[in-house]
């Protein structure tokens, strides 16, 4: 009877997870969806606690308490701009849990495992281990604990490949002889190592793609656990996750017009990839000052803000909003153009602006806004670079050729807020800055915006 109850709880939990993710198809229903997913998780946990194998609860309760405290603290204090790091760290924890469960299953059953269960456990442990260390490296890079640039050396890809083939060879051996426990532990160790080797050569800027992939692996590890212990809710939740991560990484690659292989093995942003052909980057940049820009903005009909990674590092989202408020009070129409890969995480700009109370009805996607630039008086580029690089459109030789861009250069006037001559993530020059239509307003984005707000108020 309890067994039926537990299975039923799992079934409902699975359905609630699906409904929860469905809720995310619209901001109106998103929070309700998440409540459903949370209830689902609660049901799955309570259902599990009724499992007949569980005889003592002290370790469980201790784990739940400690975990909840750390989790709540992490999510409470982490600033929105540090979301990428937080997500990476959280992946590491989830994946580590999956790996540990797999190891303990192997430790218990060892030799008695059939090859199918051995296979499931093997996948679980390998995916879990790779994700754990991979996510930790990603975290370190994003948090600036290690150098963000790709760590590359000659023969790296070949070395990694051989290691992978070797690990797979071991895995196959285990399928045939599950009792060979030293081999199992060796495989586990290699998988932990492999996670490090896989992520080291990838630059900090490519981390979002890597993280989505790691998310996908973490999900698949959970699904493999489900196969190993015949539990459908694990299979379903894990698979949903696995697909979500995979789809997001594919979308990102598409929006950057790069292949997945290039992201993973191309060591983009390392010194070796700087050889390139640039166009229209001779000539001078025109510097403008705050007062001129303020006048321009105050008398504009329509202004479009184009935020990028610089807005995130400067934590300037609130200041952007203040400037927009002042402009709106003067009758200027203000819109925000959001490029799908602006920032360092899918949806990065959207969250930051939402944090600053910008209603999402003012945020426009690329396809919605590009035709509006020609009729826009001023486009204000706030710490964005690659996503507004006209070379992607005009110069077939450019490393980012073919990537869709926000065509700010079609606006009547463009103001670019950045600190200096720093390049964007792709490490290439941007001919936009040399166009006659463009004015450069140097300085930290937050400072510049604050001064602009002041000046506009008095204009």
């Amino acid at each position: 009877m309890t067994n039926y109850l537990v299975e039923f709880a799992y079934l409902i939990a699975s359905i609630l997870f699906i409904l929860g993710l469905k809720g995310l198809s619209h901001p109106e229903s998103a929070r309700r969806g998440m409540v459903l997913a949370e209830v689902g998780m609660l049901m799955a946990i309570i259902g599990t606690l009724l499992h007949r194998d569980i005889v003592s609860y002290e370790w469980i309760i201790a784990g739940l308490l400690i975990g909840s405290t750390i989790g709540a603290a992490m999510s409470y204090w982490v600033p929105m701009t540090a979301m990428p790091q937080r997500t990476a760290l959280s992946h590491a924890f989830g994946a580590f849990a999956a790996a540990l469960v797999g190891i303990s299953e192997y430790y218990r059953h060892g030799a008695e495992l059939g090859s199918f269960t051995m296979g499931a456990i093997g996948f679980e442990v390998m995916l879990g281990a790779i994700t754990t260390t991979g996510s930790l490296v990603a975290f370190a890079k994003l948090q600036g604990l290690t150098r963000g640039t790709p760590v590359v050396y000659k023969g790296q890809n070949i070395f990694n490949m051989s290691l992978l083939v070797f690990t797979i060879g071991i895995f196959i051996y285990l399928l045939i002889d599950p009792s060979a426990s030293p081999v199992f532990y060796m495989m586990t160790g290699l998988a932990f190592l492999f996670g490090v080797l896989l992520v080291m050569p990838i630059g900090a800027a490519d981390m979002p793609v890597v993280m989505s992939l790691l998310n996908s692996y973490a999900g698949l590890a959970a699904a493999a656990t489900g196969f190993a212990i015949s539990n459908n809710v694990l299979i379903i939740a894990g698979t949903l996750d696995g697909f979500s991560g995979f789809i997001l990484s594919v979308l990102m690659c598409k929006a950057m017009n790069r292949s997945m292989t290039n992201v993973l093995f191309g060591a983009f942003g390392s010194d070796s990839s700087t050889a390139q052909i640039e166009s229209g980057t001779e000539g001078t940049m025109r510097e403008v000052n705050v007062d001129d820009v303020a006048i321009q903005l105050a008398y504009a009909k329509q202004v479009i803000f184009v935020p990028g990674y610089g807005m995130a590092t400067a934590q300037a989202q609130h200041t952007v909003r203040e400037l927009a408020n002042v402009l709106e009070s003067k009758g200027v129409t203000v819109k925000y153009a959001i490029h799908p890969v602006a920032g360092r995480m899918p949806g990065h700009m959207n969250v930051l602006l939402a944090e600053a109370n910008v209603p999402y009805s003012s945020l426009y996607e690329l396809e919605q806004i590009n035709h509006e630039f020609p009729s826009t008086d001023v486009a204000v580029v706030i710490g964005a670079n690659d996503v507004v690089n006209p070379d992607a459109r005009d110069n077939a030789q450019s490393p980012i050729a073919g990537m869709p861009i926000l065509e700010v250069d079609r606006a009547r006037s463009v103001i670019v807020l950045k600190r200096g001559k720093g390049k964007g993530f792709a490490g290439i020059e941007n001919p936009l800055f040399y166009k006659s239509v463009t004015g450069m307003l140097y300085g930290d984005a937050k400072d510049s915006l604050a001064r602009l707000t002041q000046a506009v108020q008095h204009a």
């Binding site: 198809s25 924890f93 469960v101 212990i229 949903l240 009070s329 959001i338």
Partner: protein, 102 residues
């Protein structure tokens, strides 16, 4: 794992994969960051596996591994859901506080 359970698990996997694809591809870019943290939270479902390991007293090693696993997975679940909610609360269609001046 019996023959039937395996087959059934494969069916569940295949259907969930399709469903995942359908559902996720309908999430707008606006919500991609919350989506990442939400799926991150859901992947903490490995908690379900950890709980049994931690509480079953199979042997000391299992219990310790289980305890660590429960802790880690709980961080994932609680942290993931809380941060998702924190983000989603920020998304607003229109602000009542901003007066429509002019």
């Amino acid at each position: 794992m019996s023959h039937e359970t395996l087959i059934a698990a494969l069916y569940v996997f295949a259907l969930a994969a399709f469903l995942g694809y359908q559902v996720i591809s309908r999430v707008p870019p606006l919500l991609h960051t919350p989506l990442m943290s939400a799926t991150n939270a859901i992947s903490g479902i490995s908690l379900v596996g950890s709980l049994v390991t931690a509480g079953a007293q199979y042997n000391t090693v299992s219990t310790i591994l289980g305890f660590v696993a429960v802790t880690c997975a709980t961080i994932n679940v609680v942290g993931g859901f809380m941060i998702t909610d924190r983000m989603l609360r920020m998304f607003k269609r229109k602000l009542p506080t901003v007066k429509d001046k002019k």
